[in-house]
């Protein structure tokens, strides 16, 4: 299948004359093409009125409708039929009507329901962010932070699964999975053979591969990028570094795979390439899928033509060590101390010897240990 067919709003087949639908979301008006979903209409407005989406992925056909985080209230169906919709609807799968009025953050009912959904998503989640590679770029972390409650009411043992290697490049940590089905659609729509799906039902459902196939399709690595949580991680990067310690740069190469765009983000530290991912937009969706060769095998800067630093949303923790579009807060201490520098008791980096650029963390097998720095 051609990758380009995934891009954009391929679901709109408009006739010659384009009549736009007027929609109001949280009292903000927007005009969109018929066939647009409420979620995409909201994204056209942008900002805080955009419902969070954990399962919908515009590049994957059939995605959405499952996680229920994007529920909104339709207070007026359309100009033709102004009745409100009886239940909250999944904005990612509900198309707009002319004159529709939607409430998202202006509806206490929606916020309440969303809080419930977040609680459900976290119910069996291991909350192992401190040891999870996804931390810092995890949509579930962001979602819980923005919409969740501050503690759980769940007093039972959480569900766990064993970790599984899906081939030598991808690690499945099912315990963290929120069953958004994105990886299933990715495997289905991007790779030649279907070897990846869901077994079991209810809260015993699990991602699985067909008789432990190793998933050696040339696009299967994309399941890592679409996974909103740390359930699918890159084995070549696992435990190598925290994403916010790395510097993301846009890069490209002339990829020999005709289906691959070759446009990636390199996650670097010094001149080391720790990992390669596709480029993601502000909703966490990849701009274009990349092949496994680019992702897993090109870990040398020389393989790439560097374009420049990747722009990262300012609110993201990843931007904390960064350089573009960040305003460095004023150092109040200097002012308070009348211009004198504070006294440095000791430098923790030199004490612990961890900050030694001469040691290539990415070359160490497995997580780095203190032993690795003693040599």
């Amino acid at each position: 299948m051609l990758l380009s067919s995934f891009a954009g709003k391929n679901y709109i087949k408009m006739a010659e004359e384009k009549k736009l639908f007027k929609v109001k979301i949280d009292n903000i008006s927007v005009e969109v093409e018929p066939g647009t979903t409420i979620l995409n209409a909201a994204r056209q407005i942008g900002g805080e009125i955009v419902p969070p989406a954990m399962c919908y992925y515009s590049k994957l056909q059939g995605s959405g409708g499952k996680c229920r985080t994007c529920l909104v209230k339709v207070s007026k169906g359309s100009d033709a039929d102004p009745r409100p919709m009886p239940k909250l609807v999944a904005s990612c799968r509900t198309t707009v009507m002319d004159g529709m009025e939607v409430s998202n953050i202006t509806s206490p009912e929606v916020l309440e329901a969303r809080k419930g959904v977040v609680e459900f998503l976290l119910l069996n989640h291991p909350l192992d962010c401190p040891v999870c590679d996804q931390a810092g770029e995890c949509h579930l972390q962001d979602l819980s932070y923005e919409h969740g409650a501050d503690s759980t009411r769940y007093e039972f043992k959480r569900r766990t699964f064993d970790k599984v290697d899906l081939g030598d490049k991808i690690k499945l940590h099912m315990t963290r999975c929120i069953l958004c089905y994105r990886c299933v659609y990715t495997a289905d729509q991007l790779t030649e053979k279907r070897e990846h799906g869901i077994l079991g039902r209810g809260d015993a459902s699990e991602i699985s591969t067909y008789i432990s196939q190793s998933l050696d399709n040339d696009f299967i690595g994309n399941v890592i990028d679409v996974c909103p949580v740390g359930a699918l991680t890159d084995q070549t990067f696992r435990f190598k570094n925290r994403v916010w310690f790395l510097k993301p740069v846009d890069a490209h190469r002339d990829c020999e795979n005709p289906k691959c765009c070759g446009k990636t983000v390199l996650w670097m530290r010094g001149n080391e390439v720790f990992r390669v991912t596709a480029r993601k937009d502000k909703y966490g969706e990849v701009e274009a899928f990349i092949c496994d060769t680019c992702r897993f095998d090109k870990k040398d800067v020389k393989d790439w033509i560097i374009e420049g630093p990747r722009k990262i949303e300012r609110h993201s923790v990843i931007s904390q060590g960064h350089y573009v579009n960040t305003v460095k807060p004023k150092d109040a201490l200097v002012e308070v101390l009348d211009g004198r520098q504070p006294k440095l008791l000791f430098n923790i980096h030199s004490e612990s010897q961890v900050n030694r650029p001469d040691i290539d963390l990415s070359k160490i097998h497995g997580p780095a240990h203190s032993d690795d720095f003693k040599k």
């Binding site: 959405g64 409708g65 499952k66 996680c67 229920r68 985080t69 529920l71 239940k87 909250l88 999944a90 799968r93 309440e112 329901a113 419930g116 959904v117 609680e119 459900f120 998503l121 119910l123 069996n124 009411r153 769940y154 039972f156 929120i178 069953l179 089905y181 799906g197 869901i198 079991g200 039902r201 209810g202 809260d203 015993a204 459902s205």
Partner: protein, 453 residues
């Protein structure tokens, strides 16, 4: 004696077989429809009859049929939902096992009205012996020219296929059923599109319950106007009720929808009263998904009227004081039954049967089961009751398919009407392990309703 339309000939020896069925007036309706009526006239008759879907939701069948899209050159399908997995419901089984030709005939007439040339019977896997019965009946009908090409020389073609499910309640939900029929995982689809537009193989499809399709036969035989006379208001015709629980005569009964709940439970024609002369405590009138009612709200509505065995009367008072006719799975509980335990049993069922697609149902059903288990086994807290209420509230209405609602409603109704029984469990954890709360005040006459001003 109530009049019957579906089971009137069920007692005849050999009615399972074609010859007996035919010689007792079988296939007369199919003949009438195909030869003298035409598809539109059949649809008109079904509309006139006011027949409502017998699968649970009670949606008017004629209206549903009229929604089916009819694009040029695209096949249409009729699917018979024989997945019957709702706890307490076992009426379709009776029809298929004893009078399979009634269903086949109903399928022929309905397919004819819809312009479908293929019909599927999707049957739950646990009914392992019934597909043979159905396939034998299909073979007989085909042999006699009721199926196949150019039926009765009318130019109408029809094949009926039987497909077994693999034991999942969720495959009774019409879009999950369609997915399963296509050979996929039985996950409900996200609607719209509805099956009437994009159903089986993305073609226009009607999904109907076994009893609904069987009821089309008498409607064509006696006419829609006559059919209406068998019921009350918008509950027209007869309804199969599978009665179970603490009653003297559990079984499948065909009732005219004009008798009272009290008559149904206590008359010798039907349930024959409560077993062992116990007192009635509660009843779930329409299968496990519908709200449970205490005895006093079951026999009389909150307005003090006699509660009837009809869609409207059972639903009178909404969820605050009413319930639903649902699929007709009538579960009766006597004074020795424990509502908490019963609610736990249902919660376990829904937890086990959730497909796991959407977060509230996948996670919430298991949570409710665990909390209920604590309460039932003496480890509950008072706050657990409010917690349960909050969980069910956050599932209900927020899921992809109605299984989430079906899991939430029984818990909500149990707490709404039997909260003191839950509280008693929490307050007397030891005692609750050895005895039940009993009838308490649940059969006491309700205070007279305040007259409307």
């Amino acid at each position: 004696m109530g009049r019957k339309l579906l089971l009137d000939k069920a007692h005849i020896e050999g009615i399972r077989y074609y010859d007996t069925y035919r010689s007792n007036g079988g296939y007369a309706a199919a003949e009438k429809a195909l030869k003298t009526m035409g598809p539109d006239a059949v649809l008109e008759e079904v509309k006139k009859s006011g027949l409502r879907g017998r699968g649970g939701a009670g949606f008017p069948t004629g209206l549903k049929w009229s929604f089916i899209a009819k694009p040029e050159g695209v096949p249409r399908y009729l699917v018979c939902n024989a997945d019957e997995s709702e706890p307490g419901t076992f009426k379709d089984r009776y029809l298929m096992e004893f009078i399979p030709h009634l269903l086949i005939e109903g399928l022929i007439i309905s397919s004819f009205a819809l312009g479908a040339n293929s019909a599927y019977i999707y049957i739950r896997g646990e009914y392992a012996w019934i597909p043979d019965i159905l396939e034998q009946a299909i073979a007989e009908a085909k042999n006699k020219g009721w199926l196949g090409k150019n039926i009765l020389g009318t130019g109408f073609d029809l094949e009926i296929y039987v497909q077994r499910g693999a034991g999942a309640y969720i495959c009774g939900e019409e879009t999950a059923l369609i997915e399963s029929l296509e050979g996929k995982r039985g996950n409900p689809r996200i609607k719209p599109p509805f099956p009437a537009v994009k159903g089986l193989w993305q073609c226009p499809t009607v999904v109907n319950n076994v009893e609904t399709l069987a009821a089309v036969v008498p409607i064509i035989n006696i006419g829609g106007d006559e059919y209406i006379k068998y019921g009350t208001g918008k509950s027209t015709g007869t309804k199969l009720i599978s009665a179970c629980g603490n009653i003297n005569k559990p079984g499948v009964y065909e009732i005219e929808m004009n008798i009272s709940v009290e008559e149904f439970i206590y008359s010798d024609e039907y349930c024959g009263g409560i077993k062992n002369n116990k007192r009635l405590k509660a009843c779930i009138p329409g299968g496990s998904s519908v709200p449970v009612l205490p005895a006093n709200l079951l026999l009389k509505t909150a307005k003090g009227e006699t509660r009837m065995m009809t869609y409207e009367s059972l639903a009178d008072g909404g969820f605050a004081t009413g319930s639903m006719l649902g699929s007709g799975g009538f579960i009766v509980m006597d004074e020795d039954q424990c509502i908490v335990r019963n609610t736990l049993t249902f919660a376990r069922f829904y937890h086990h049967e959730s497909c796991g697609q959407c977060s509230p149902c996948r996670e919430g059903t298991g949570w409710m089961e665990k909390v209920l288990k604590n309460i039932e086994y003496g480890k509950g807290k008072m706050s657990d009751i409010d917690l349960l209420w909050d969980i069910q509230r956050k599932i209900e209405g927020n899921t992809i398919c109605p299984l989430g609602d079906a899991a939430a409603w029984p818990v909500a109704a149990a707490i709404r009407h039997f909260r003191d029984e839950f509280e008693w469990h929490v307050a007397h954890p030891q005692e609750a392990l050895t005895r039940n709360f009993g009838l308490a005040h649940y059969a006491d006459p309700l205070p007279a309703p305040v007259a409307a001003v």
